[in-house]
Each structure stands twice: as structure tokens, then as C-alpha cells.
């Protein structure tokens, strides 16, 4: 048993943090948020060419790195994090202001699809740095509700309805679309956003680092070679669990960064002729924040190991889903608690636009309910523990 990073994983962590400290500064993040593309296209290009993070989960035979979920978590955690090394620049938040998250999520869905030429083509395309977004949720009645239908006509199949909260949907070269068919089972399609009947609308978000889109389908005709999976209820539900783990990685980074920048601030700020970091009222808040961040990190890496074990056939889907529920509940709470405490520790400047803690606060809020509120995660656990027959 070694529930610790291997040397290679530690190296990946170190290089991710170093790269982002350099490229994804506070100024860069802020610029990306208001740019027309909502991200720094140049940075995304250098991630794809120099770091190859988009290829972590992609199998080697389709040009990926064939690494695992622990590696993906390491990079996404670094993506949510601000590095201590440079207090002047120091924001390493931005890869989710690039399409990395969207790409990882789509990869997770694709890896679970039955093998097909189209699937491998899409994975190669992801490995080449193209953005493919997963259009899954509708959120009128939970994250597993699907707002798109696939109905057969005499000549073809048409998609109708709406998918909301599609990460980087407006930048996607292709969309993976979950749709319910006439027999009430889920199907997964690949759709070109330019094709007839598909309307992609960017949706401005309170957290500008995680831009999204709504995708509307008005009788968009799709052909059978666009069909990636049928009977896809389990696939979609498993992708949801995996997506939660990706989000948890981001939240752990946010929780850690909120702690780090706030503690640094309190070591500089003086009142009553002392740094405010020397007051127990501040220290105890910081200690609670560290407890939250470390705990969320433990569940993140447990969940990432569970995802790897599930893909290797060593544990069943229930284990994957339970791990995702638990990690999501814990990390959502941790990120929001830490960012909220962080604002308080900053005092007045915490609510200014100038300081970065507000960016973390918004991102913590955004990720907290993305893919399900913490109370929904806990209710899912409660169902397992309290309902049904006693084992």
C-alpha cells in the first residue's frame, strides 16, 4: 500500500504547477475571461503541444498518453490552484479558462463508448488539441435529466430539445450529445455545431473562468454514422460520476489556493501593531481551512484510484459512484468554505475586484452545484445506507 504519488506522478505535479505559475498568471486569467474566445487560445495551444495534458486519458493507440485518473486529477488540481512561489503573479487557475475540463469530460465519455471507428477518430482529434464538448444535462429535475430527444422519422433520426451548461460548447469543433430515444433509453451522438438545426449560444456566467453554452436542437437530422452508443443509460451515468471526479480535482485546487493566498495576505497585513496572522481568530480559521482542503484531497485521490480500478475491472460501478458522491460532497463544501473564509480573512479588500480571492469564490460557487449540489450527493449516500433491505 502506497497511497502517495509515484515519482512520475510527483514530477507531473511539479511540472504542471511550474508551467501554470509561468503561463497562467492573475493578469492572464483576467484577460482570458473577457476575451472574445473566453480563453487564451495561445495558452491552450502550448498546453496541447508542450504539455500534452489533453492526451492524459486518451489511449496510446489513438495518439494519447494512456495515463490514468490520478494523473488527470493531478493536472486538474494544479489547474484550480494558485501557486505560492510567486506572490506577485501567482494565479494558476486558468486551465479551466481553457477547454481542458471540457476535453477531459468528453474523453471520459468516449473511452466508455463501444469501440468504433468514429470513436477512435474523435479520440485522435482530441489528442490533436481539438475541443469536443459533452452536451449532457438539462437540469430541470436533476443532472441526470436529459433535455434532448432522438426521434426516428421515415427517412432519418432528428434531435430536438436543449442541452444546457455545456462547458466550452461555443468553442467546440464537435459536440457529444446525449439524447433520449423513443424507447426511453439514452443514446450518444456526435454532432457538428455548424450543421442544420443546431444552435449554440454562449451563456454569460457569474464565474467567468468557466464559460458555458446552451445548445438547442431544432429537428437536427443525424445519420447512423454519427451514433456512438445506444442503450447508453449506464454510460451516461458513469460519465456523470467521472465528471464529478474531474470537478472535485478543480475544487481541491480552489480550496488549497484560497487557503494559501489568504494566509499569505494575513502574514503581510498589520493591525494593532501585529500581523493579523498572529491572531488566533485568524489562525483557527486557517487551520479549519487546511483540514477541509486536505480531507477533500484525500477523497479526490481515493476517487481517482477508484476510477482507475473501475476501468481495470477491479471494482464495480457502485464503488465508482459512491466515491464520486462522497468526494463531490466533501470538495464542494471545502472549496466554498475556504473561498468564503478567504474573503473574510482579506477583510475589506476581499470584496474588491482587484484581489484574486473573489475569483476563487466565484469558481467555488460555480463548481459547487455543477453536476449536483452537495446535499444531493449526501442524499444519494443516505439512500444507500438507509433505504431498501438490510444486507
Amino acid at each position: 500500500m502506497k497511497f502517495a504519488f509515484t515519482d512520475e506522478q510527483q514530477m507531473l505535479r511539479d511540472t504542471s504547477q511550474a508551467f501554470l505559475a509561468d503561463k497562467s498568471t492573475s493578469a492572464a486569467v483576467r484577460a482570458a475571461c473577457v476575451s472574445p474566445e473566453h480563453h487564451d487560445a495561445e495558452l491552450w495551444q502550448s498546453i496541447c503541444e508542450e504539455m500534452y495534458w489533453q492526451g492524459i486519458l486518451i489511449p496510446e493507440h489513438v495518439d494519447g498518453l494512456g495515463l490514468g485518473w490520478v494523473e488527470m486529477a493531478i493536472v486538474l488540481e494544479a489547474a484550480g490552484e494558485r501557486l505560492l512561489t510567486s506572490p506577485l503573479f501567482a494565479v494558476a487557475q486558468s486551465t479551466a479558462a481553457s477547454p481542458l475540463f471540457a476535453v477531459a469530460q468528453s474523453t471520459a465519455a468516449l473511452v466508455g463508448c463501444p469501440a468504433s471507428e468514429m470513436r477512435d477518430l474523435l479520440l485522435s482529434s482530441l489528442a490533436a488539441g481539438n475541443v469536443i464538448s459533452l452536451a449532457m444535462g438539462n437540469q430541470s429535475g436533476g443532472w441526470d435529466s436529459v433535455g434532448v430527444t432522438a426521434n426516428e422519422t421515415s427517412t432519418t433520426t432528428v434531435l430536438s430539445g436543449e442541452a444546457r451548461f455545456v462547458p466550452f460548447g461555443f468553442a467546440a469543433a464537435k459536440l457529444l450529445v446525449v439524447a433520449r430515444d423513443a424507447s426511453n433509453t439514452l443514446t450518444l451522438w456526435v454532432v457538428d455545431p455548424q450543421q442544420d438545426g443546431v444552435f449554440v449560444e454562449p451563456t454569460p456566467t457569474m464565474d467567468q473562468t468557466r464559460p458555458m453554452a446552451t445548445v438547442r436542437f431544432e429537428r437536427a437530422a443525424v445519420s447512423s454514422d454519427q451514433l456512438l452508443a445506444t442503450q447508453a443509460d449506464e454510460l451516461v451515468s458513469d460519465t456523470l460520476a467521472l465528471s464529478r471526479i474531474l470537478t472535485v480535482a478543480d475544487q481541491v485546487g480552489v480550496a488549497q489556493a484560497s487557503l494559501d493566498i489568504s494566509v499569505d495576505f494575513t502574514k503581510e497585513r498589520k493591525q494593532f501593531d501585529r500581523t493579523i496572522a498572529s491572531f488566533q481568530a485568524i489562525k483557527h480559521k486557517a487551520a479549519d481551512m487546511m483540514l477541509k482542503a486536505e480531507s477533500a484531497r484525500s477523497l479526490l485521490y481515493y476517487a481517482a484510484c477508484t476510477a482507475d480500478a473501475w476501468l481495470a475491472g477491479e471494482v464495480d460501478r457502485d464503488a465508482l459512484h459512491e466515491a464520486a458522491y462522497m468526494a463531490s460532497a466533501c470538495a464542494s463544501d471545502a472549496a466554498f468554505f475556504n473561498a468564503g473564509c478567504g474573503i473574510q480573512m482579506h477583510g475589506g479588500v476581499g470584496i474588491t475586484e482587484e484581489y484574486d480571492i473573489q475569483l476563487y469564490f466565484k469558481r467555488a460557487r460555480a463548481t459547487e452545484s455543477y453536476l449536483g449540489r452537495p446535499s444531493e450527493m449526501r442524499e444519494a449516500i443516505a439512500c444507500q445506507l438507509l433505504d431498501g433491505d438490510v444486507a
Binding site: 500500500m1 502506497k2 497511497f3 502517495a4 504519488f5 509515484t6 506522478q9 490520478v70 487557503l259 494566509v263 494575513t266 502574514k267 501585529r274 500581523t275 496572522a277 498572529s278 488566533q280 485568524i282 489562525k283 483557527h284 486557517a286 487551520a287 479549519d288 487546511m290 483540514l291 486536505e294 480531507s295 484525500s298 477523497l299 485521490y301 481515493y302 481517482a304 484510484c305 480500478a309 462522497m326 460532497a329 466533501c330 446535499s375 450527493m377 449526501r378 442524499e379 449516500i381 443516505a382 445506507l385 438507509l386 433505504d387 438490510v390
Partner: protein, 398 residues
């Protein structure tokens, strides 16, 4: 990054489980699941006999080196032992202070004579130890110790005078290690000595402290010219603080997974009651039970990270949060138990004040966030050692 044990470790697990299955029965059947925190005053003689049985199977002091009768067990193996011990319902260990505190301290700081004199009886399960750190005026501020030790110039013998408090099971123990001031001019952590003192002597008086549960496992221990031989000071006079702090470093968390298994038993009981009495339909109770379940898993993976940490024995960040985490979790569990039981929680089943398990849990877990460093002290330690925040300025007075 791996969450599974090696095949060799799994074989060790089987060995432990088999031995416990063969031995924790018959005359020891009644002490299964007994003698844990809040219940330590029960079955003392039987649990001492159990220590001798453990010793006969080489299951005491498994982390000690072979030379002193241990198994030189790896961290993983010690974790496994604790886990299987808890799974089998092994009783609260009468020998745990000798095994995990006195022993490692003597191995690190003791003389050869001290090792030869004190280690074998601990290893054999025939000598029981208690600890004498806290005093009425030295709780969170441990360095404020006032108990003093004076050396007789001719015989070299030490005479100890003062008062220790919160000494678990002193009345059932043979020895106590005592931190006392050897230099009356000294203050704080300077000028202290670390003494090995026999409890059965005229200069020692032990008074039990009755707790809010009505039971008494803690004591006050009074020293009035209690005698300690010249050879029974560990390290040099004045090195007491170093020895005592070294002792804290021996806690690598090997017992944490075993502790969590006991917590799981408690949570399972609460879930069983909630399902039976309908509390499981209360949305707030559902959230809290889920939260407790998630918290217990969190502890498990926090521990796994802690145990997988560096071999240098330095405390990792995960290790620093552990006490704060489990004590808060356990205290909340006690309250959850009461809320699940509702008005039933009030009813005393027997005797003038014989509490049931969950009532004891509720009341005694208020101690969890106090002993071994209060939650406030834990937060200070985390902020200062892990986050590098400044120390609180000290008060001025004497």
C-alpha cells in the same frame, strides 16, 4: 498510487485474524468489544490476563525490534494488526501505554540498564504503565509544570513532590512516567526531568475523578516525597522536555484504522436504530448520517496518506489534522446518536446511573475534543507548524 496491501501483508493479516479467532474466546469471550475509551474501568483483571495471552502469542509490542521481543513489524503490518484487532472485537489494551509510549521512549532515549529492567515486563504483559504529564496548572500549557524532583546528594535518589491529573488507569497500573522540574530556578521547558516511578509506594496517593458519565477512569495522582532511584531518570536531568516531545513523535497513526473500525461499529448501530424507529425518514437526519459516513471514509484516506508518508517520521500535513478531525467527527456522532434516538435517549436502562453505549458515547465524546491537545491547541499547531503563521504572544506574569 495504490490502495491495496501487498500479498505478504495480506498473509500477515490472515495470521493475525486466525490467532485472534483461536484465542479471543472462552474465558475471554466476555471482554470482546469492552474496555475502550469511556469503558476503560471495566474488566481490568480479565484484560490484564488477556495481555499475557497476547504476549504468549508474540502479539504485544509488535513494532519493537526482535532483540526486545518485538516483531519489528512494518507500519503496514502494525496498521493491519490494529485493524484486525478491532474487527475481532479485541478489548481495550491495558498495555498500550507501555507498548506504544514507554517502550519506544526507552528504546530511543533509555540506558541499556533501563531497557533491560523495564522492557521485558511490558513485552510479557505483566507490567502496566500510565502517564504523568498534565497538572492542574499545566494543561494546554504543558511547560508550566510545577511538580518537582530533588536529588539526595549522598544516595542519588530522587524525591518527587507535586500533583498530576488526568492519569488514565493509574489505580490499575504499576508505573507512571513523570515529567518534573529538577531545577527549581528553571521555567518552561528548561530544567525538566523524565522519571520512571513505581506507583506502589507510600509517597504516592491516587484519587479517581468521577466523570459526567458517573464512571472513573481518570485519576489525580499526588506525589509526596515519592521515591525514584538515581537510575530511573531517562536522559540527563534537564532533558525531560526533549524526551517527552520525542515520545509524541512516535505516534505514526498506526492505530487510526483500528480506531475507525470501532467508529464504524458505532455508526452502524446508529443507522440500525434510525431504520428501525423511522428517524431515517427525517431529511436532516439523512444528511447527517450521510455526512458521518463520508467523514469516516475521509478519515480512512487521510490515514492512508499519513501512513504512506516519508519514512523519516516527520509529521505530515495529513497527520497534523488527524486529531482535530476525528475528535470533532466523534463528538458529532454522539449528538447524532441522541437525535436519532429522540426522547428514548433520556431513559436509563438499569441501576442508579448505568448508561447504555450510546449515552456514554454522547457524554464521553465531549472529552475527545479536549484530551491529548484540545481542538484549539490542535488548530494552533496546524496554523503554526503547517501554515507558518506566527505564535500567539505569551502572557507576561509569573
Amino acid at each position: 498510487m495504490k490502495l491495496t496491501f501487498t500479498a505478504a501483508d495480506e498473509q500477515f493479516r490472515e495470521e493475525v485474524a486466525d490467532w485472534l479467532n483461536d484465542n479471543l474466546r472462552d474465558e475471554f469471550a466476555d471482554i470482546r468489544y469492552r474496555g475502550g475509551p469511556g469503558d476503560e474501568h471495566h474488566f481490568v483483571d480479565e484484560r490484564k490476563a488477556w495481555e499475557r495471552r497476547l504476549a504468549a502469542g508474540r502479539w504485544t509490542c509488535i513494532g519493537w525490534p526482535d532483540t526486545w521481543g518485538g516483531r519489528a513489524a512494518s507500519i503496514e503490518q502494525q496498521v493491519i494488526f490494529h485493524e484486525e484487532y478491532a474487527r475481532a472485537g479485541g478489548p481495550g489494551r491495558m498495555g498500550h501505554i507501555g507498548d506504544t509510549l514507554t517502550g519506544p521512549t526507552l528504546l530511543a532515549f533509555g540506558s541499556e540498564e533501563q531497557k533491560a529492567k523495564y522492557l521485558p515486563p511490558i513485552r510479557d504483559g505483566v507490567a502496566f504503565w500510565s502517564q504523568g504529564y498534565s497538572e492542574p496548572g499545566a494543561g494546554s500549557d504543558l511547560a508550566a509544570i510545577r511538580t518537582k524532583a530533588v536529588q539526595d546528594e549522598t544516595s542519588g535518589q530522587w524525591k518527587i513532590t507535586g500533583q498530576k491529573v488526568w492519569t488514565s488507569l493509574a489505580h490499575e497500573s504499576d508505573f507512571v512516567f513523570v515529567l518534573a522540574r529538577v531545577d527549581r530556578e528553571s521555567s518552561r521547558h528548561h530544567g525538566l526531568g523524565f522519571f520512571l516511578v513505581a506507583l506502589d509506594q507510600p509517597g504516592v496517593t491516587i484519587r479517581p475523578i468521577t466523570q459526567l458519565t458517573g464512571t472513573a477512569e481518570f485519576n489525580e495522582v499526588y506525589f509526596d516525597d515519592a521515591v525514584c532511584d538515581a537510575d530511573d531518570i531517562v536522559g540527563a536531568p534537564g532533558d525531560g522536555w526533549k524526551v517527552a516531545m520525542g515520545l509524541l513523535g512516535f505516534e505514526r497513526g498506526v492505530s487510526t484504522l483500528g480506531q475507525q473500525m470501532l467508529f464504524q461499529t458505532e455508526l452502524d448501530e446508529i443507522i440500525r436504530i434510525a431504520r428501525a424507529n423511522g428517524a431515517s425518514r427525517d431529511p436532516d437526519i439523512r444528511q447527517r448520517i450521510a455526512e458521518a459516513h463520508i467523514g469516516l471514509k475521509t478519515m480512512r484516506y487521510n490515514s492512508m496518506r499519513m501512513l504512506s508518508g516519508g519514512e523519516d517520521g516527520s509529521l505530515s500535513r495529513e497527520a497534523m489534522i488527524y486529531k482535530l478531525y476525528w475528535s470533532s467527527w466523534h463528538r458529532n456522532l454522539g449528538k447524532l446518536a441522541m437525535d436519532v434516538l429522540g426522547p428514548e435517549a433520556e431513559l436509563i436502562e438499569s441501576g442508579p446511573y448505568e448508561l447504555n453505549k450510546l449515552q456514554s458515547l454522547f457524554l464521553f465524546t465531549r472529552a475527545d475534543t479536549i484530551y491529548g491537545g484540545t481542538n484549539q491547541i490542535q488548530r494552533n499547531l496546524i496554523a503554526e507548524r503547517a501554515l507558518g503563521m506566527p505564535k500567539e504572544p505569551r502572557g507576561q506574569g509569573k
